[in-house]
Symmetry: C2
Subunit: 238 residues, 2 copies
DNA sequence: TTGACCCAAGTGGTCCGACCACATCCATGG
DNA sequence: CCATGGATGTGGTCGGACCACTTGGGTCAA
């Protein structure tokens, strides 16, 4: 045994960068680092853990893309609010990089969550929130620009998910419906005249929300997502 | 030579590292990089994008923690299989870092997915898969070691999720039930004698699976997760 | 011939030092 | 009192050096 580390007891596993990542995550997990709090400088952190600034920077960059930390040029490094949106942003990457069968599976997950979220929204939605939903619905029907339609479509579902009262679920659904993901589906989808059907489905969802009818809302949402799901399933088969 | 950017038209947005990350993600998204394929060396990649090796390393590290790339010391950098498990590993971080109300929301999402997954499993499960589930159930009841119980509990639900036939959902559920997450819940939970109840709930789930009764399975799973959910909700309130 | 062994080249991992770009704070001066 | 400008500190980028590990081919003995 050449005892490469002094008696501290910490086993030297993996790369130093990986260890640094775990250390910082642990600090946050144990409450030593509060959301929004500012961390020591890269140089100080590196010195504290006995590693080089380069390695520490890689660790910080990794935690940055995970939505745990936020680096502000010239100011410092801060812990994010650790909101659902911060951490689940990476969920969009999954959707962007998924192909074939995996895409269908992803859509199946979305169908399950979206239908439940819509049902919850039907029970809880306030008049103000309903007005927002109606706004996006109207805007979506008032234009022919695909880009704009997509944006309002996304916002439409986002507003419903928020009305369900579960921020985490809303964030996951947003990631599942990332721009690229939706754009890919829309391409070549409108050609089959499914454009009007989408419009009708959205109207059905809105009707159920206005009537505060959870069961109808669940069915309408499930049908809406299921429609795309079936089409995609057929595409994958060919 | 000044010539900040030649006419290519690409706007220099954000940090060079961030751009490198996007570039590599785009290459994979467009199919230029296949799963399992080996990338050029860090030095070559850096040269291709006209950035330093340090910056390129940060980009690679970021994509590594996201489960998109895999670096093998002395061998090279490879694209992962991009399986659901690879990409959704980061989901565990969310569970580990969530606190209070967010934890309840997370558990609510799990309840929705787990109940649906269990229902699907009841309809599709094969005798062989059922045997695996029973194995973990028996092992769980045969020991008193919390560590071992937790492992088999996790495997129990994992096996059910796999039987549902949706790898993506199984991966998400696994992330939602990350080690730390479950351990935190168990601590101080057994004290209220809820230990036997968990055993009974698991038995109910198994019964529904064996009977191929989706509705019963859904109810049993929802009740199982909901039990923990309610307890946690009460804890947060205090 | 065949097999085990060893070494050299290539690759990721780590460290260092320098400089740049930007944000912030404070002394200065109106 | 407020606006201004510079000094300071911070993250961002760069280049080079060396270390640790893998890989493959060549050597040498059986």
């Amino acid at each position: 045994m050449d005892e490469p580390r002094q008696g501290g007891g910490a086993a030297p596993k993996g790369t130093v960068t990986q260890r640094a990542i775990e250390r910082i995550k642990a600090m946050i997990g144990e409450g030593l680092l509060e959301p929004g709090q500012r961390l020591p400088t890269e140089r100080d952190l590196a010195a504290q853990l006995g590693i080089s600034r380069s390695s520490m920077r890689e660790a910080i960059r990794a935690l940055t893309v995970l939505g745990v930390l936020e680096a502000r040029h010239g100011s410092g490094i801060y812990v994010t609010q650790l909101q659902a949106g911060d951490l689940l942003e990476t969920f969009g990457v999954v959707a962007d990089l998924s192909r074939g069968p995996r895409l269908v599976e992803l859509l199946e997950v979305r169908r399950i969550l979206e239908s439940t979220a819509t049902a919850l929204a039907a029970a809880r939605i306030t008049p103000a929130q309903l007005a927002v939903v109606e706004g996006h619905l109207a805007a979506m029907n008032a234009t022919e620009d695909p880009e704009e339609i997509l944006a309002h479509d996304l916002a439409f579902h986002r507003a419903i998910a928020e009305a369900a009262g579960n921020e985490t679920m809303a964030a996951i659904l947003e990631g599942l419906s990332s721009r690229t993901f939706r754009a890919r589906v829309w391409r070549g989808y409108r050609e089959e005249g499914a454009f009007d059907r989408t419009r009708r489905e959205h109207a059905a969802i809105h009707r159920a929300l206005a009537a505060h009818d959870p069961e109808a809302a669940r069915a309408a949402a499930a049908a809406h997502v299921g429609e795309v799901e079936e089409w995609l399933r057929a595409q994958v088969g060919s």
